[in-house]
């Protein structure tokens, strides 16, 4: 399997590898894929509550070189975007940027899923905190 130079670059020098605290209300975490399929991605975004802009993004990926590159690229793109702009990132953008061959398109789909999952998680947390401030004594929703 021949990899594009961009995939090799992300594989050899992955951007933004790491983790942020899952319990931080401003951090959204997405964990997608399954070990038996050979791909698992964890993608996290940290959103500035004042501006709604993604200040930081981190990933960890178990998967082939294209999966690592797709998630690494996604974190690069996420930084500086608003939550809504982030949701507009499409897997096809990743395919084009990394010149992924057809057998590796599922890697880009997984990266898009990871972005969506992270942002959904962030939004859920925001709603939970908003709800809490209104009904201060109400029982905690189970997250």
């Amino acid at each position: 399997m021949a990899y594009s130079s961009k995939v090799i670059d992300h594989y050899e020098n992955p951007r933004n590898v790491g983790s942020m605290p899952k319990t931080d209300p401003n951090v959204g975490t997405g964990l997608v894929g399954a070990p038996e399929c050979g791909d698992v991605m964890k993608l996290q975004v940290k959103v500035n509550p004042e501006t709604g802009v993604i200040d930081d993004a981190k990933f960890k990926t178990f998967g082939c070189g294209s999966a690592i590159a797709s998630s690494s690229l996604a974190t690069e793109w996420l930084k500086g975007k608003t939550v809504d702009e982030a949701l507009a990132i499409k897997n096809t953008d990743i395919v084009t940027e990394l010149s992924l061959p057809p057998v590796k398109i599922h890697c880009s789909v997984l990266a898009e899923d990871a972005i969506k999952a992270a942002i959904t998680d962030y939004k859920k947390k925001q709603q939970a905190t908003a709800g809490k401030s209104v009904e201060e004594r109400a029982p905690q929703p189970t997250v």
């Binding site: 399997m1 990899y3 594989y11 992955p14 590898v17 983790s19 964990l31 997608v32 894929g33 399954a34 070990p35 038996e36 399929c37 050979g38 791909d39 698992v40 991605m41 964890k42 990933f59 960890k60 990926t61 178990f62 998967g63 082939c64 070189g65 999966a67 690592i68 057998v103 899923d113 999952a117």
Partner: protein
Amino acid sequence: MTIKLPIYMDYHATTPVDPRVLEVMVPYFTTHFGNAASRNHPFGWEAEEAVEKARKQIADLIGANAKEIVFTSGATESDNLAIKGVAEMYREKGNHIITCVTEHKAVIDTCKRLEKDGYRVTYLSVQKDGLIRLDELRNAITDKTILITIMTANNEIGVMQPIAQIGAIAKEKGVLFHTDAVQAVGKVPFNVNDLKVDMASISAHKMYGPKGVGALYVRRRNPRVLLAPIIDGGGHERGMRSGTLNVPGIVGFGKAAELCKQEMAVEGERLRKLRDRLDDRLHKGLDEIYINGSTEHRLPHNLNISFAYVEGESLLMGINDVAVSSGSACTSASLEPSYVLKALGAGDDLAHSSIRFGLGRWSTDEEVDYVADKLINVVTRLREMSPLYELAKEGVDLSTMQWQTD
């Protein structure tokens, strides 16, 4: 000593032709080019003499009589000939064949084809160590069973089945016994009479001979095995395999067999030490790595390891100057990991994380050290970016997690 890159550590896939083998082959392409079936001139006689010498060299390696060696194009053909040949010839006696789930595709797919033609096939399961259970084999035999086909050594995990015991059971029950012995012959002692094997498939290119030539050992006495040919034509090879013989290939095959017979004991011991060196280094440098298959009943030059929490293809990408094979096939649409590893009951994740190392005649200490060091670095780096490793270190049991899949 400097290392020449890339390093070849995939000797189960194929082996280079030994220069001593090539040397004896060359004249049979040019000056001694005769057809071994030409009975009325010296060109033919010369070719026939060379073929008969090679037949004897191969027979000597496996303790057979030269007349019991049938030349083929390779072990895939040998497996097809043995299984289909018996199936057709013994159709009136029965229609049941016994094999095993970890066999090479040349055996499994041949059996599957026969199933479409009305034969019944039992695929024996294997235990965690890759070995079949002899009581399961015994229980599977019926009065309709005409053939047992079980490989001697597995091509992925190097596990060696109890061939002598299987041979004894087959003999006791009066069932023919074929073994795909491709990975074992020339590497470990293999004697058709000690093992009570009726047919054995072997291949030249797995033992430092050329590609495109193989053989099927077919027992002539106690019992005399009869095979229906799968290729019709001029009636070469006692009618079992028509087609002009590949004389230079066969000459090389013979020489390769002779060299293996002479050098097997020393070479096997050297490779065992080298394999253990690789294994030791990897185990010292990394935690949570697992050897697939029995370490006791195993070819001396094979190592198959799963590196937990890292995916096989990304692992291979990190060691791209080392030629090895991975149990993962993420490139295929089906994302199917190795069926052999799955049969051992290793989780799919561990099957995706496996590498097969095959050492051989030109493997060195320096190469082993280079590969071990490089792997330790790459696995460590990939684990640092593996969400599975992180979860496991947090104490999460990955097997009980709910994964989001489509």
